[in-house]
């Protein structure tokens, strides 16, 4: 965590969230991202056990019960810290949300991260949505209805497999990203690598969202 000054005694805060001199709770810095907040490096692979342990530790440290007899300022800080911490933990706990968040953080550094819409995937989704509508409007106990249902079920299985494959690809990219970050090279080749990885991740994450949506529509309709 960046060095800052204690709001209460004005001495330099070296600890994480408490001033070592006057022991007052310190607010989470406005510039701190969720990784910093929870004391983790900006990596896409995180040990969930360690993350949870850190979250519980800090949750206890900021728990309102311990601030009942403290000043209003301290009560407000603990409350707002606890809220930030909750959001940070919820975001980092889920690998997909974690990656989306990291991409948002890195987006400033890498321009044009937005991927172009995948035309063939869209065609497929729109076609499938039409079939879904047809099925909803059909007499579902009729032969035609049953046939549509079977067709949709096949599609659902295929899409679920595709979603899993995308997630595996993402895991692979996550590891590559982390390795690159661990090396920490500032060469132009390393920069280009980072950029490429971010773009690939962005693209798969987007496509995964489209697939996820159509799968949940399928599940909601045919169960």
């Amino acid at each position: 965590m960046a060095r800052s000054m204690c709001w209460h005694c004005q001495s330099e805060v070296a600890g994480e969230y408490f001033c070592e001199r006057c022991v007052k709770v310190q607010p989470v810095s406005k510039d701190a991202d969720y990784f910093t907040c929870l004391g983790f490096p900006r990596r896409l692979t995180i040990d969930l056990g360690m993350l949870e342990a850190k979250f519980y530790e800090l949750s206890r440290a900021f728990h309102p019960d311990f601030y009942q007899n403290k000043s209003e300022t301290e009560q407000a800080i603990s409350l707002s810290n606890a809220a930030t911490l909750n959001t940070a933990y919820r975001t980092l706990r889920d690998p997909i949300q974690r990656a989306e968040y990291l991409l948002d953080l890195e987006a400033g550094a890498v321009k044009e991260i937005r991927s172009s819409p995948p035309a063939d995937l869209f065609e497929e989704i729109l076609e499938l949505q039409d079939t879904l509508e047809e099925y909803r409007a059909s007499d579902q106990s009729s032969d035609a209805g049953k046939q549509l249902r079977a067709q949709l079920q096949t599609e659902q299985t295929a899409l679920e497999r595709r979603k899993r494959e995308m997630e595996e690809q993402l895991q692979h990219l996550f590891r590559q990203w982390d390795e690159l970050q661990d090396k920490g090279e500032a060469t132009s080749a390393a920069r280009a690598d980072r950029e490429r990885l971010l773009k690939q991740m962005r693209e798969i994450l987007s496509n995964r969202t489209y697939v996820k949506n159509i799968v949940s529509d399928l599940v909601a309709t045919i169960g």
Binding site: R114, P117, F122, I125, L126, Q129, L205, S206, Y210, N213
Partner: protein, 127 residues
């Protein structure tokens, strides 16, 4: 957060829902998506003598995305290609009273219009 009356109206009575055959003469098709929410939008125009005579859409997404594309097709009908090019997402935001979190739905509709126009242009050039 509640949807505005206009959004609800377009959502309950979507105008011009449906599609044209992509290959049909004078038809331009725009397909766009919002990666943040996974909404998918297809917007089509039918053009005669540089004027949009008909427009249709199909949107799978939230109420605001459906309303934005429904409104867009209403506006497109009767406009020349040049006029259609000028429709801005901010016009849609204003008309539908979209809250900040739903502005991307109007951006999606503008992108869809642009994509449909570009597709029509491309088709008529290659002919």
């Amino acid at each position: 957060m509640a949807y505005s009356d206009k959004v609800v109206d377009h959502f309950n009575n979507p105008r011009n829902m449906g599609s044209f055959k992509k290959e049909e003469d004078g038809v331009g098709t725009g397909m766009v998506g919002a990666p943040e929410c996974g909404d998918v939008m297809k917007l089509q125009i039918k053009v005669q003598n540089d004027t949009i005579v008909d427009a249709k859409f199909k949107t799978f997404g939230c109420g605001s995305a459906i309303a934005s594309s429904s409104l867009a097709t209403e506006w497109l009908k009767g406009k020349t290609l040049e006029e259609a090019q000028k429709i801005k997402n901010t016009d849609i935001v204003q008309e539908l009273n979209l809250p900040p979190v739903k502005i991307h739905c109007s951006v999606l509709a503008e992108d869809a219009i642009k994509a449909a126009l570009a597709d029509y242009q491309k088709k008529s050039e290659t002919k």
